[in-house]
Amino acid sequence: MTSTATVRRPPAALTFRQKLNRFDYRASPYLYIAPFFILFALIGIFPIVYTFNVSLYEWHLLKGQGDFVGLDNYVSVLSDPFFWNAFGNTISIFLLSAVPQLVIATLIAALLDQTLRGRTFWRMSILLPYIVAPVAVAVIFLQIFNQYHGPVAGLLELFGLDPIRWAFDVFPSHVAIASMVNWRWTGYNALILLAAMQAIPRDVYESAALDGANKLRRFWSITIPMIRPTLIFVVITSTIGGLQIFTEPKLFDPRSNGGSDRQFQTIVLYLYELAFPRRDFGRASATAWILFLVIILAGLINFAITRAIRTNDARPVRIPKVRDTLITTRSVSTSPARSRSTTTSTTDQRGGRA
């Protein structure tokens, strides 16, 4: 209460208007954040918490709540080979999309981090796939990866290779689905990495060049270490997204839930199949919580790695305003906004007009 001493004036002579004014001053901050918290409690917090409640019961989509079964739903999900199949498929598709995507995005970002002609055009061109919704991506790639006709089959034929059964064999189907993810997200992630690269002070490169470091050496010894927080941010967002992949595998064979033989059924597809076609809300909820814990675990691992890197590093990484690692990595990609305007103007002066 002592901290409010400045606000507390001699209380006697307050008019109604002054009281109203004071109420306005004190209550408004809370009123302004209230809609967010009330709505988020309803659509964000309640569903996650209540999912846990549902997971402890036998719960049918139509019949509703049944007997309390404790952790039985978790036991039955974790001992279901189809769950582990879905888990393995998810990891496989995730690795096939995250790894090439990160490598190519970094390369493209490095190429864009030069005084290019038509800079705006190149930046926009790599973002084109991002505006195509996952449903449309899946519909289009379903045709591109058609076993018998379409561009990929044509290409294989051109090289005299046998047709690949994209929708039936496990590994090829994972490659096809991962390529949808890669196609849509590589350019987007390249832009995030480009922003981080542009935050690196140019004189670091210049002095390294004076010391005789060639382009490749500068890339490995300056660029990569300096953008590492952003790289980790990109990894973690693609992990969270990748673990929840649904649309692409669902539509790769729209009449099944992840392939005729579950060749590409992912965890969320497994959850979806339990909840809707099979109407088993109890086990579906248990699956949701298992996935939730896996995602939290992935986040914590990221937190640990980021902190380890930051304490080991003496490099001047921009210090963000909020002390949170997830945010730290974002802020590194946020902060260049300001410093970039300076780089932009210098390149413009040099005549690098787009």
């Binding site: 306005d24 408004s28 901050p29 809370y30 302004y32 954040i33 809609p35 659509i43 309640f46 569903p47 999912t51 549902v54 493209i108 190429l111 290019l116 926009m124 061109s125 790599i126 973002l127 084109l128 796939p129 505006i131 195509v132 919704a133 449309a136 991506v137 519909v139 289009i140 790639f141 045709q143 006709h149 561009p151 044509g154 051109l158 196609w183 832009l191 210049e206 060049a209 941010f233 990109v234 969270i240 929840q244 649904f246 539509l251 809300f281 579906a284 949701a288 919580w289 996935l291 939730f292 939290i296 305003k321 949170d324 997830l326 990609s333 946020t334 260049p336 970039r340 040099r350 005549g351």
Partner: protein, 299 residues
Amino acid sequence: MSTLMERTRTEPTATTEAPRYRKGKDHERPGILTYAILIAFFAISAFPLWWSFVISSRQSSDTNLVPPAVLPGPNFLGNAAKVFETAPFLQALANSVIISGAITVSVVFFSTLAGYSFAKLKFRASNGLLLAVIATMAIPTQLGIIPLFMLMAEWEWVGTLQAVILPGLVTAFGVFFMRQYLVDVIPDELIEAARVDGASMWGTFWHVALPAARPAMAVLALFTFMAAWTDFLWPLLVLGPRNPSVQTALAALSASGGQTPDHSLVLAGAVLSVIPLLILFVLAGKQLVAGIMQGAVKG
């Protein structure tokens, strides 16, 4: 052979560029290889969309052509008309505009309001509450679909647009994004001055904060609209086939057709579903690029 061609092509450019860029360091100028890779990447980025358009303007059997067809045919309008006959696509477009529009207005307004409060107003527990916002950003809300579905069934909202709109009304990320922007952009003195002049809290928000927040609001609106437009899982659960969104209508179109799907028809649907965002991309692509580079997206 190819190196020879590269040489001859590079030389004239090099000589014309030399005087213009004398000041810059020559080794900083990207070579022809950079442009070659970027062009290849652009071709890969554009090919699936272009090929869809090509097939949707021809007939289904043209997917068989080797090498693949690269020039559009005359049938696009015919195939597009068939899409509108086969699926309730017009209604789907209208529904998606309503859903995405409502979500965008709500997210942008409530995010600006709460972001302003966190950035510029002093109140007890503000730091703790902001941390709560940040912590909730990491929650994969998609995993709450089962209770949300039960709620919609209870309210008899299944099949209605409000069932899709409600779960999108606010995002923790939006609040955090607006807070980060406003904390730097509005000087505290400006708000104090407005107070001294007798403006109410709401008046200060409306006349001082809102105009200052406009650029960030536009970026947030752009990304919120896109996310709502492209969302699939939740609309699939709560919207029936008779009242679809663009995405669920396209998915249904793709699943229809049995053993012999009409590729031109399905791809015409895909092209039609992309056109609205393609227009947005042409009009606001620069802002999208800038937004991503400023971290305006949740990833």
